[in-house]
Amino acid sequence: MNVIAQTVKKVRLNIDIRMLNSLSRVLILVMLSLGMSLLSPVFLTSRNIVNIITTASIPAILAIAQTIVILTANIDLSIGSIFAIAGVTTGVLLKGGNIPAPYAVLAGLAMGASLGFINGLLVAVIKLPPFIATYGVSFTAYGLASGILKGYVIYGFPDAFRFIGNGKFYGIPMAIILAGIVIFLMWLLLTRTTFGRRVFALGANAEAARMSGIDTKGVLILVYVLSGFIAAFAGVVQIARINAADVELGTTLLQPTIAAVVIGGTSMYGGEGGVWGTVVGALTMGIIQNALILLGVPTLWQQFILGLFIIVAVLADQAVRRLTGRRSN
């Protein structure tokens, strides 16, 4: 009997807790879907599902950007504004400057990367709390975007460019494809490259990482640059999709990205989680938003509900951590 008990214990311990964590996230998603399918007949239609995934694509890209930062136990509150200003930059260049699309896009991406670089400097070198640093940059970026647009909205981009956001590739909307590419690339970066290893090490234990010879400052700066870059990419795709560049683009997108990351199982304490979790989280957020519409919940209540979700997600996350004896503060 003892042998059996021991074996069971061994097996139980061997199941990677990280796997359990990921599974539980998917479980939430599945349960939500099941629940929704009961509540609304429209939910499980292929049209609705495609709709959910398409709408969730661009926020998913943003959530990936946030994931990388959160993996290092920091946060990036500026991705919404970087999202906006990248779109604005590209839009202005396309429309106002008549600059060829590739260069305009590059400029937008460069803008995102530069702002990310500033974030990185502020947090890693000057050691400003990430909240203050990225919030400040967020304001600055938002202001810059406002200043450039001067209240106008740019619209009407060349068709070739619009294809990025609006077109279909073998029947699949470009937004989904691009999101898929970003997801794949970032997954690759985080799990299969030395840089990814350093990111996880930094998040898991910054001091141990440093004492293992990792250039923690450099990695952190790069992480923010990457986050800015990806957020900018999302912004460019967005303006292609809706054929307009407007300063308010990113303001409502910040909170859902944090929620998506947390729901997806990436720990705010760093070192745990990843891209796939965020995908699950982004899908979950997409379903929630879709549910709110299908159930006729007024848009006005959405921010409130989102806030509730963040809190509930973090609480649940903390509870799970405490139960499995993992690190919590």
């Binding site: 061997n14 990280r18 490259t193 030395t194 990814g196 290893r197 350093r198 090490a201 234990n205 001091e207």
Partner: protein
């Protein structure tokens, strides 16, 4: 000093995972006496004090205060019973003034709500005056010197009408004048019938301020004596006299080229003008008391903390220790004292921890090759006999000894030539200890250079070719493995007899053991 017993502890036992911290220890304190508690690092002094102060609970044994049996479950209870403890790390609030720190939680109030600043200041001043102190009670504590902060802590302890005062290494960071002052205060306290338990590593203080002295060793009570009946050599003998029955597997090598040289390294108050060398093929032990600066030296060499002055040479080339990354590149490695917080990323798998320091070396093309990683990791798991069910096991769940092996594997992977081990076998079971010693031996056999910081004297004596003894941030003495004895090391570490630095080199002798 009366014979009235303030405090009596009987048969105290306390066990921590893997180690018996206290084993049937008896201790008592009379009113108006200073009872000095001596022992090496890890002898159990701190554990005993924490039990008396209510921070730990004993596994068995009884404690009596003024004849009544008591049991403390929280530090607060001990405080209320009149036992105050002053830890080495001060518990003062930096941006609050002295008076407020003293009366924190017991502020005098007017009308039950408003702080009576005038009374607080006056009371504080009175309290300090009774301790022969004239501090500016309106000053923020962060602006005070360590000695003054110490005094504030004493005042704070006294403000609660303690009958028992436990002081953990109170003179560790004090100047001579401040120490004199402290002693003056202690003598005053004695007159008031307060009993003081005094933990110190400075043997000369035993006769300066103590009435009785108790020596602990390996968690056991060795003896309690009146201070007038013992001399320092007796005390040292009591502290270290153990049977060296552990075998240390060492095959001594001829000394190779100079691997590491440190010249005049200085870092604030913690390191002063440190000079040392390390050669291939040798294990150099670094002994000294906690706080002597050994870990600080290791951190300075490895680039963890910035240095103010001095130079570091690796294989003859000067390298400025700007960051650990820099030193890893130069071929240096550090297995830190704080294994869990500095040596490992606990929530990551074993394999990731192992390759963490050699990412560039193993995977020069940026992409992690899983197969290669697995091969490398499995090799180390086998070679080092790392007890883990799978290479993906999260290190948090490994035993202490296994964790240390993972750290070792990490550095072996970097193909470093210089290894700094900081307390390599602390908290590790005997079997794993021997294994790690074996690995260290292998390392130097293959031409590496090892610097071993250890507080376990048998380990230092058994493993080292040469021994440096540090005290108060300096290297006080260098001993060869033949001339070194436990008594000598402790003597130098505590400054019992020789207070001067002896820098005569030991190089003359070629070590030719088999």
């Amino acid at each position: 000093m009366s014979d009235a017993l303030l405090l009596r502890a009987e048969g105290i036992c306390k066990q921590f995972p893997g180690v018996q911290a206290l084993d049937e220890v008896n201790f008592d304190l009379r009113a108006g006496e200073v009872h000095v508690l001596l022992g090496e690092n890890g002898a159990g002094k701190s554990t005993l004090m924490k039990i008396l102060a209510g921070a730990y609970q004993p596994d068995s044994g009884k404690i009596f205060m003024n004849g009544n049996e008591i049991a403390f479950h929280t530090p607060r209870q001990a405080q209320l019973a009149g036992i105050a403890i002053i830890y080495q790390e001060f518990n003062l609030v930096p941006y609050m003034n002295v008076a407020q720190n003293i009366f924190l939680g017991r502020f005098p109030k007017r009308y039950g709500l408003f702080l009576d600043h005038k009374k607080m200041q006056a009371d504080a001043k009175k309290l300090l005056k009774s301790l022969y102190l004239d501090l500016d009670t309106t000053a923020f504590t962060f602006s005070l010197g360590t000695g003054q902060q110490q005094m504030v802590e004493v005042a704070k302890a006294l403000s609660v009408e303690s009958r028992v005062l436990i002081m953990d290494e109170p003179t560790a960071s004090l100047t001579e004048t401040e120490i004199e002052h402290l002693f003056m205060i202690i003598r005053e306290l004695k007159k008031r019938g307060i009993g003081v338990i005094y933990i110190s590593h400075r043997l000369q203080e035993v006769h300066e301020i103590g009435d009785r002295v108790t020596v602990l060793r390996d968690g056991k009570l060795i003896g309690t004596k009146d201070v007038k009946d013992v001399e320092i050599p007796d005390l040292v003998k009591m502290m270290v006299g153990r049977n060296v029955d552990k075998m240390f597997e060492r095959t001594y090598q001829p000394r190779g080229e100079e691997a590491l040289r440190v010249e005049n390294l200085g870092c604030g108050k913690k390191l002063k003008d440190v000079c040392m060398t390390l050669h291939c093929g040798e294990i150099v032990g670094l002994a000294g008391l906690v706080g002597a600066g050994r870990t600080e030296l290791a951190h300075a060499i490895f680039g963890v903390d910035p240095v103010d002055s001095g130079k570091v040479f690796v294989f003859g080339k000067e390298v400025y220790p700007s960051s650990p990354a820099q030193m890893v590149q130069a071929g240096v490695s550090l297995l830190p004292e704080d294994r869990k917080n500095q040596g490992l990323c606990l929530i990551l798998p074993t394999s990731e921890n192992m390759v963490m320091a050699s990412l560039k070396k193993l995977f020069p093309k940026f992409m992690v090759n899983n197969r290669k990683e697995k091969t490398v990791v499995m090799d180390y798991i086998q070679d080092l006999r790392i007890a883990t069910p799978s290479p993906k096991r999260i290190v948090q769940f490994l035993s202490g000894g296994t964790q240390q092996k993972v750290v070792l594997a990490k550095w072996l992977c970097t193909e470093a030539k210089i290894f700094i081990f900081d307390e390599p076998t602390r908290g590790i079971d005997v079997g794993a200890k021997a294994e790690i010693h074996g690995f260290m031996n292998e390392l130097v056999k293959n031409g590496a250079a090892v610097l071993m910081i250890s507080s376990e004297l048998p380990e230092v004596l058994g493993m080292s070719d040469r021994i440096y003894v540090m005290r108060e941030g300096q290297i006080i003495k260098e001993l060869s493995c033949e001339e070194a004895t436990q008594e000598k090391i402790i003597g130098f570490a505590m400054g019992g007899d020789s207070a001067q630095r002896d820098t005569s080199p030991v190089f003359g002798k070629e070590v030719t053991h088999a």
